[in-house]
């Protein structure tokens, strides 16, 4: 743990020289900014990849049993015989879409990307506390990703038991599931290394004058997130180890006695519990929901304060809420399991905690909306995404309440309503916030500004399409349409809402096209974007004191903090912003 680099500060801190060879500077780098960008670019790639899997899957849902032109032929005869999607391939796409989006996309972008790049800058640190550990975290993560993707090429294909990998199905699935387990162990290890690093960095390396009540909200959110990753991921690692044992060594941790598969009794010792996996999985995966959303809230807070040109409303309330959310997220996991027959006492407990945890979420959202009130709002591209986050996250959050109440969950459980609910939280919620972050910090990372017109096209097309994707799912779910159905028209009650599946698929493909302006903008701005100085947004937090892009060691002079993070439009000031790092009233 303690093997940090004593020497990396002075090896190459001197002006304009690049003593480090290319592979040490850009590939096996210990610089938090390079690692952050590596994480972000990798994650953006996997977000596109995971989304592509879903766009293929949407063909089968919109036009069940019809051959997919062109792409169907490319994917080959095993996956799509005669261009028609095989049920096994459909299951692989579903399981891998979930796994990739959560573990290879959103978390690495929100925590590995933005956390690594922004947190040390915002707290005025020269780097993370353990730079080599940070590098190790990325280089454990990447093999995990490659292994996960490679599972498509194993006999029987990739994991196909859903992203939740519920046994007994996952215990008896093809070898791709074992690959899934091993790559999860790598990804969990990587997140463990990262979370230790974040906590130590935030607690130990804050600049002079930067007390906890002067930290930007984004840093608070990352700190809570790091604790969630640190403490919630190990139980999933334990569960994954047990699933590997079940699959490889023939144990029966998750296999009950007398299990019959394809008409034959399974030859295992038995005596295990499939519910045990669900408990361990959701013990991780509910805090994981907050790992997905808290950094996004942090980004939204930064962007809103900067673009309304006024302090965040209820800053301390926000901090208390985010810490309370962190604690509560550990005691709500079994609201995913109301239908398992675990008993009414358990259900009542988890229903109560679930209602309680909605309170701080609502407080946070209210603070953000109150922050808009009376502001002189600049609708820059990041602000458009951050503003859209508010109603989108509200829809996602509020539709979650009927799922947290046992009575209504009995009806809605495992229908498309659930898919609509959590996608509203994560896709137009978290992902929009992450896009806001990309547009907001791109100038800091590259020294170039992203194109505003392309940004606005990206935003408006995405915003319209994404609602066509997820809004109809609520109606499908309330009509009783189950999730994970290979053919949604197989039951009579699904046929009435089949037309909506065509709408959703067209929305999804439109959403795919809407990302083209972003991709073009990203690379074009990298090459030809307008050059910016250190503080293009006239912001107040510490990262804007460093040059754009910051060199190794980040700051030209040691930063000192004189005030709270969001002092915008202070009466009697010449400027409408008073940066934390500028002395004087």
């Amino acid at each position: 743990m303690s093997e940090t680099t004593t020497h990396n500060g002075h090896d190459h801190a001197h002006a304009g020289h690049h003593e480090l060879p290319f592979w040490r500077k850009y590939i096996f780098s210990v610089d938090h900014k390079v690692i952050g960008i590596q994480y972000a670019v990798t994650a953006l790639f996997f977000l596109l990849f995971g989304f592509t899997l879903m766009m293929i899957m949407r063909w089968q849902l919109a036009y069940p049993g019809q051959p997919l032109p062109v792409i169907g032929k490319i994917l080959g005869e095993t996956a799509m015989p005669g261009g028609v999607m095989a049920p096994e391939f459909y299951n692989q796409l579903g399981a891998m879409h979930g796994t990739i989006m959560v573990f290879l996309g959103v978390v690495p972008l929100a925590v590995g990307g933005f956390g690594n790049f922004v947190v040390p800058l915002q707290i005025g640190a020269p780097d993370m506390a353990f730079p080599r550990l940070n590098m190790a975290s990325y280089w454990v993560f990447l093999p995990g990703c490659v292994l996960m993707i490679s599972s498509f090429f194993f006999p029987g294909g990739a994991a196909q038991s859903g992203w939740t990998s519920y046994p007994p199905l996952s215990d008896i699935a093809s070898v791709g599931q074992t690959v899934w387990c091993f790559s999860m162990v790598l990804i969990i290890t990587s997140s463990l290394l990262g979370s230790i690093n974040f906590i130590v960095t935030i607690v130990q390396l804050r600049a002079k004058g930067l007390s906890y009540w002067r930290l930007p909200f984004f840093v608070h959110a990352q700190l809570v997130t790091a604790f969630l990753l640190l403490l919630a991921f190990p139980p999933l690692e334990a569960a994954t180890v047990m699933q590997i044992m079940d699959r490889v060594a023939g144990t029966s941790f998750f296999l009950p006695s007398g299990l019959v598969v394809s008409g034959e009794q399974l030859k295992v010792a038995g005596g295990g519990s499939p519910l045990l996996w669900q408990h361990l999985f959701w013990f991780l995966a509910h805090p994981e929901v907050y790992v997905l959303i808290l950094p996004a809230m942090g980004i939204v807070a930064e962007v809103i304060a900067n673009n309304t040109r006024k302090p965040l409303w209820g800053y301390r309330l926000l901090v208390y809420s985010v810490v309370f959310l962190g604690f509560m997220s550990f005691v709500v996991w079994a609201h995913h399991m109301f239908m398992t027959g675990m008993g009414t006492t358990m259900s009542t407990f988890f229903q109560t905690t679930t209602m309680i945890i909605s309170i701080p979420s609502v407080i946070i959202l209210t603070c953000f909306i109150m922050s808009l009130y009376g502001g002189n709002i600049r609708f820059t591209t990041p602000m458009l995404f951050a503003t859209a986050f508010l109603p989108m996250f509200a829809i996602g959050g509020l539709t979650g309440l009927p799922l947290g109440l046992t009575a209504s969950d009995i009806y809605l459980h495992d229908t498309f309503y659930v898919i609509g609910h959590f996608h509203y939280v994560v896709a137009p919620g978290t992902l929009f916030a992450l896009f806001a972050g990309v547009y907001y910090w791109f100038p800091k990372a590259t020294g170039k500004q992203m194109n505003a017109t392309l940004g606005k096209i990206h935003f408006w097309t995405s915003f319209v399409c994404i609602n066509f994707v997820f809004m109809p799912m609520f109606f499908q779910g309330m009509a009783g349409l189950s999730r994970r159905l290979y053919d949604p028209t197989v039951y009579a009650h699904g046929r009435g809402v089949q037309a909506l599946n065509v709408v959703i698929s067209l929305g999804a493909w439109g959403l795919g096209l809407s990302q083209i302006p972003f991709i073009v903008n990203f690379f074009m701005s990298l090459k030809r974007g307008a050059r910016v100085a250190e503080n293009p947004w006239n912001a107040t937090t510490l990262e804007w004191a460093a040059p754009s892009p910051p060199g190794h060691g980040n700051f030209l002079t040691e930063p000192v903090v004189y005030r709270e993070p969001y002092e915008y439009s202070v009466p009697g000031h010449a400027n409408d912003y008073s940066p934390q790092f500028v002395e004087g009233s």
Binding site: M1, P126, A129, V200, V203, L231, P235, S273, F283, H552
Partner: protein
């Protein structure tokens, strides 16, 4: 990428010296956080053990008593070996504190030796069960026994690797930065005590109960 004119030299603060507020350097803070996550890892496995055991009509599932399946005398011996290794680990750190590298090397070598003895004894325990044809798939007692002790064994091997590094190549730091080196020994020690502590829980719950 055009670098800005001159970045000030900025090694990472509190790598060796304790932070004035938290009272510990970065490394020690990091190792405590790591151990917190380890508690959650083993905690989840212990909880699974409890859940599966309470759900079983009889424990161990094949009948009889646990103490008839496992070798209690060897387990007791191994407990003694690990506790002793924790003591030698403390002595190696204390030797650093008192400024004696040779004594550090002696005690650290003893720690590594005892850890190896633990693994050798464990090997004979495993071998006996394998000889009887009792693999993890035999029943859930063996599944839990091999998973928990196996994962613990991997932690022992990890400790041996770290300690061997400190004993050999890592000890060069003693001449350049003895305080930093002492901190590293202390951190390795914290980890080692944790691995020891896990066994203190494993031994009664797997061998005696």
């Amino acid at each position: 990428m055009a670098e800005a004119a001159a970045h000030h030299e900025s090694p990472i603060p509190y790598m060796v010296q304790p932070h004035p507020v938290t009272g510990i350097p970065n490394g020690k803070f990091g190792i405590w956080l790591f151990l917190a996550s380890e508690v959650m890892l083993f905690g989840a496995l212990f909880s699974s053990y409890v859940l599966i055991r309470t759900g079983a009509p009889h424990w161990p599932p094949e009948g009889g008593l646990t103490s008839e399946i496992v070798n209690v005398p060897l387990g007791t011996l191994n407990t003694a070996v690990l506790i002793t290794s924790s003591i030698t680990m403390v002595l190696s750190w204390a030797s650093c504190k008192m400024g004696s590298l040779p004594r550090f090397k002696l005690w650290m070598a003893a720690t590594i030796g005892l850890a190896s003895v633990f693994l050798v004894i464990k090997y004979f325990e495993y071998k006996h069960k394998f000889d009887l044809g009792h693999f993890p798939s035999h029943d859930n007692f063996y599944a839990i026994y091999f998973t928990l002790t196996g994962l613990h064994g991997l932690h022992i091997i990890g400790g041996i690797i770290v300690n061997t590094f400190l004993l050999t190549a890592g000890s060069k730091m003693w001449t350049t930065d003895p305080e930093h080196f002492t901190n590293r020994v202390e951190n390795a020690g914290l980890y080692w005590h944790f691995v020891d502590l896990v066994w203190i829980f494993l031994f009664p719950s797997l061998y005696l109960l």
